[in-house]
Symmetry: D2
Subunit: 399 residues, 4 copies
């Protein structure tokens, strides 16, 4: 933010940006989650798709920025397409739409050695059937994106053929793509490790990009910010995917070590700001379709608080990035005036946008401070009471 | 191994070393395990302490090198000291002794914000009680070591006081140490992350070492080979702990990314060889008490096969390290004859010790090839049949 | 910053903190530096100790926060104690005092296989002589700290004895400590790798801490923020060192991959804020003696701009940390109200302290915007002209 | 190696493989190198292209496996094409051919902010001119490969436009590719960091692959084994590049932390074995053109010893990988018999191939033990004497 821009114009540009900025919240973010060492059960956690929609609706009511909820086929539509009608009712009831459809290829026992990359043709067929059903569900719900995370891999050198598995994935994903229709997209996620520990079949953006390019024009790459090696420059990957018109969307979360699934910006907020800057630097044509989604695991934080906090943080970091005077920055970059360019860049990061965002909320009839509003509303206490018993006895869906 | 040593003397030195080399296997290594994304249930997995002892006994029968089995208090002695009698019976029945006693401070709901480092004095009291019971169990079973892994930590900056938690740990561990008696040891493990993602209260060897030094002479440091940052030189830490007379033992496993708990030497066998070299370089007084233990998570490999394979791999890597001509090596190191020193060092790594180890086994009345013997014995098929039903319905103990 | 604190009291607390906050700048930060692939020579780089003092004086004139300059014995006092008189003259001339004394144990050809950990007793003697001279220089210049970075290590497994080298270091450092006198301190730095690639003799804080404890009460640990593995929680190490009364000071810089020596806060400003929070949380007795120092390598940025920018950034991040309401935070931490604690913590991080810092500067008779003042002063243009010829022909001191 | 294969057939298959296996050595591997902290000068280091060819010839005489020497345009052909004649004479004189041609885009002062990705059109033109001259040199010397490492990048967020730089690289590399003629290849290397610390323009295999695909069929990807993030599965990248028919060759070296440029297999020999396995698993059509090259920095080891050691190690690890019974392995992988597959795989790794390799050497008229032969030959002593004076005064070419 140069000194030359007055407060009024700053508010203007941020408000316009916030009007456009939506971030999807995942149904599973309201359910109990944990690590391999156990799960700390929360009384207020959602135990059914009805409760997840209720919670998502509440978050959207508070923030006005999360109008869609990502669905997980296995957990949210256990009967597949047959559950679509119910979901539609919930959409209406809670004022949020279904967002991305997330198939599950990691939980069933038959996927022990892989799903779409399994050496077994039968297992690959089972996986494909699930994917085809997911496509159908997406179509029935009139949502755009199917978000595909493939956890396939192996744990020990020599135990699987890395190269033959590439071919198997190409086949299955090709068949899946063939089943999509106009208006649908297939987002391919990558991840270097976990739950596979030696090799993961789609380990990095290069692999996801090849698969997307290979299978067809409706496939794009999905960037989960927690799925990178230490030291990776994520915003650079974003810039490359934008350059190649291959960026489908994001799963936002933060991490310090591995795929920790912490709330966005909680460890490295400057990185999120830099990612938004790359997006805002690209032509609108390349960025129009980007799906912003949250994918976090609130093991200790309250589910509702964590979700509201995440949406608010995403908005604020986006607003900071919006403020960068990109024209001046470009000129400074071209002249290699490093310190001046950096100072201009950081000036927006350090600008306290919170009053502007708060004013935007109030102007839009929303709570100025959604977290405080949540606390005062008594919502969490109420659902904690209602769900406590069910949570005590729950076998959770996540792990 | 210099050319100057003839085959006979090589066999001699390896055989003597193997006679002394024992590695403890963990009871939980026979049970179903998984990741936060789920668990692939194995029909042959052990579902009770009886089955775990049976399996451990079988591994020891095959390898002759794993005479003790590590016990997990919560899972193996759910009634605490009252279960000691039962354990003694199992020891006799299966020909393996109880080894290290492993308290559990991570699974109960009260430990959500920590156990011995919890801000709640009440929770710390619960944790201490469990630790004191573990000490008592160890005494009753006449085992030497209590292996303490503390998973305490926090997930987000600012949410806990790192510094006050240090003081709380000193208090609780001090009280635990005070309860130990001669012949008992308290091994303090460290781990940089997981299940806590921002800070883990005992994150590295320096922290474990301070706590051990602070609380008393019976406390030592436990090195889990999977609990380090990328790039850490583990054998150097081993050398330092030996120098400080503070090395209590090892949890062996291998990893490529995080704490993957893969079978020993499966990713980086040269590293295990180097660790053994540091131990073999130290005075016997510093190494006499080292407890070698396996701590792995066999998510995909068959439990029995993985365990036998691990013991055999440990023996072979130990045997290779035994062969290093340390006297000549020292001289080359002192003269900084780098390439010669390295070649001498690696010569032992590349020496195929498998025939020597096989001959040792046969001379000791054991199976020459324990893995093949396991396969031929039909043991796994038998237990798979017996336990299939129980495993299908099992709620596993590990995650 | 809670809403309850008014702007006036915030300014008050920040101003008081800034009055106390000084950060040392290194003489070598004004000289040409580079990577192993080469050096991009800057016309305005300092080529002599006179020019370094001039630059340091200018930075302090602009910022009022860097009254001392770290000296490098080999480069700044090539004649040892004989150069002290000259340095004293420069101190007077440029209004900045000598700060930490930095011995050099990595550049001479005799240190090829190590200095204080070399297997050669003769080389260790040479190293000790240099250290003793450094102690003497420190005494003659009446500075407090000798900052010791030991780059010793080995590049290949087996080529050096990790364990015997520990003993050699204890000897040499013990002798060095014995030569210090009241008012002097010996700060021991650690670093996991580079220039040694397999093992570095003082690799982490645990090793530095043992050496400091072993040799005597005047030895403390020096934390260089760039000297850690990926994922390391540096503020936790700071908290432990404070707990153990063993924290001597900092070398601040930032990094994305290895020891990149970038300007402070340029990659992860939130981390610097968290480090300052740990310090501000500790009792004043434990933190009174902390030496804040910059140690950066301005390969591309202009030397003067980078240094001013670093001091300003350090002040601003410190000011943000000062604002944390630590009493309320403690209460929230104790009650494990995670989201509230985090929000309180981050509120200070996001507070735009720049106007307060600017006002402090103006109230102290300093330039409100030191970077802009530097640009307007013409200082860089002037020295660039004066030094261009010398720099073209320079053999730089750093690499 | 299954028990079913007799010793004779093992020797057969290894010998045939060794006859085909050549690995290029780099001219700069004989010159003095160091880190940014300095250079330890070796008396026997090569100081001229004549000496480098002499050394390379000697290595090939000893090993019979390094018939080509990689050339660095700036250091070895400072006069460009005009030096080709001289190089041809050296080829004849020393019995080794020129191998890959390595342009230099990192050393000149004009590349401070980048070369082919510089914002300055003039600098990009200078870079392109150098690349075009390199193509011409390659043609004149009748070598196949131009190996291009681009060190371009930036040190601080915001200081350069990551996305516009992609376009500039495409342009320059496109023009370079257009100048190549049949029989020439352009190998594009990637590297995540150093000397740039925030972003490197060609940071990973995905970026290199896009550039290669974009500019034309003669461009392939070059894998330097030291240029990856911690935890990266390099053999998987190799498998993908083979699948995509895009693997041009390797720069072999080993590392523990960053791009340490240690001798091949010195830190993680199992990884090299796994890389060779992926290559040997691919169809011959995809692997026929792979250029095996060494790229190491022998800072402490003697240059000649390190080079001979590297060639020998590469041969031995290749021979181990050759022994894998890939047909049986495939079957075990397909049936997911994990432990059996792994044991089969590792059996070859653990097989002591050294006697077979030695016998191959002797059968080919080479020294059975090249390292010992080097020592006995007195070559190093002789060149050390001849070159000592020059090295003392040398300004080395590397850093």
């Amino acid at each position: 933010m140069g000194q030359d821009k007055n407060v009024g114009s700053r508010q203007d540009v941020v408000w316009k940006a916030l009007d456009r900025f939506h971030i999807e919240i995942p149904s599973w973010g309201f359910a109990n989650t944990g690590t391999r060492f156990g799960k700390f059960v929360q009384s207020a956690a959602a135990t059914s798709i009805e409760e997840k929609f209720a919670d998502a609706g509440e978050v959207n009511r508070l923030t006005g920025a999360s109008p869609t909820v990502g669905l997980h086929v296995l957990w949210d539509l256990p009967n597949g397409v047959a559950d679509v009608e119910k979901i539609r009712g919930l959409e209406k009831q809670h004022g949020v739409k279904s967002g991305s459809i997330n198939p599950n290829l990691f939980q069933s026992q038959e996927y022990k050695y892989g799903s779409i990359a399994s050496p077994s043709a039968e297992v690959r067929r089972i996986a494909l059937d699930h994917l085809l059903e997911s496509v159908e569900i997406g179509r029935a719900l009139e949502t755009k994106d199917i978000s595909l995370w493939v956890s396939d891999g192996s744990n020990y050198p020599g135990t699987q053929s890395i190269s033959r598995r590439i071919g198997w994935m190409e086949e299955v994903l090709g068949a899946m793509h063939a089943a999509t229709t106009e208006g649908q997209r297939l987002l391919i996620e990558y991840k270097p490790f976990e739950p596979a520990f030696y090799h993961t079949d789609i380990a990095d953006w290069g692999m996801a990009l090849h698969l997307a390019s290979k299978i067809g024009p409706r496939a794009k790459v999905l960037v989960d910010t927690g799925h990178h090696y230490h030291g990776t420059n994520i915003e650079q990957i974003v810039a490359w995917l934008l350059h190649l018109d291959a960026l489908g969307g994001f799963h936002f979360n933060d991490r310090k070590y591995a795929d920790d699934d912490l709330t966005i910006g909680s460890i490295d907020p400057y990185q999120v700001f830099r990612i938004f800057h790359e997006i805002l630097s690209a032509p609108a044509t390349a960025t129009a379709g980007i799906a912003y989604m949250i994918d976090q695991s609130h093991n200790l934080k309250g589910k509702m608080e964590a979700m509201v906090q995440s949406v608010v943080t995403a908005q604020e970091l986006y607003a900071r990035a919006v403020l960068i005077d990109r024209e001046t920055l470009s000129a400074l970059q071209d002249e290699c005036r490093l310190v001046e360019a950096e100072e201009l860049f950081r000036d927006s990061f350090w600008t306290d946008v919170r009053p502007i965002v708060r004013a935007w909320r109030e102007a839009r009839g929303l709570a100025g401070d959604p977290l405080q509003q949540l606390r005062e509303s008594g919502y969490v206490e109420r659902i904690a009471k209602e769900r406590a018993e069910k949570n005590r006895n729950s076998v959770s869906s996540y792990a």
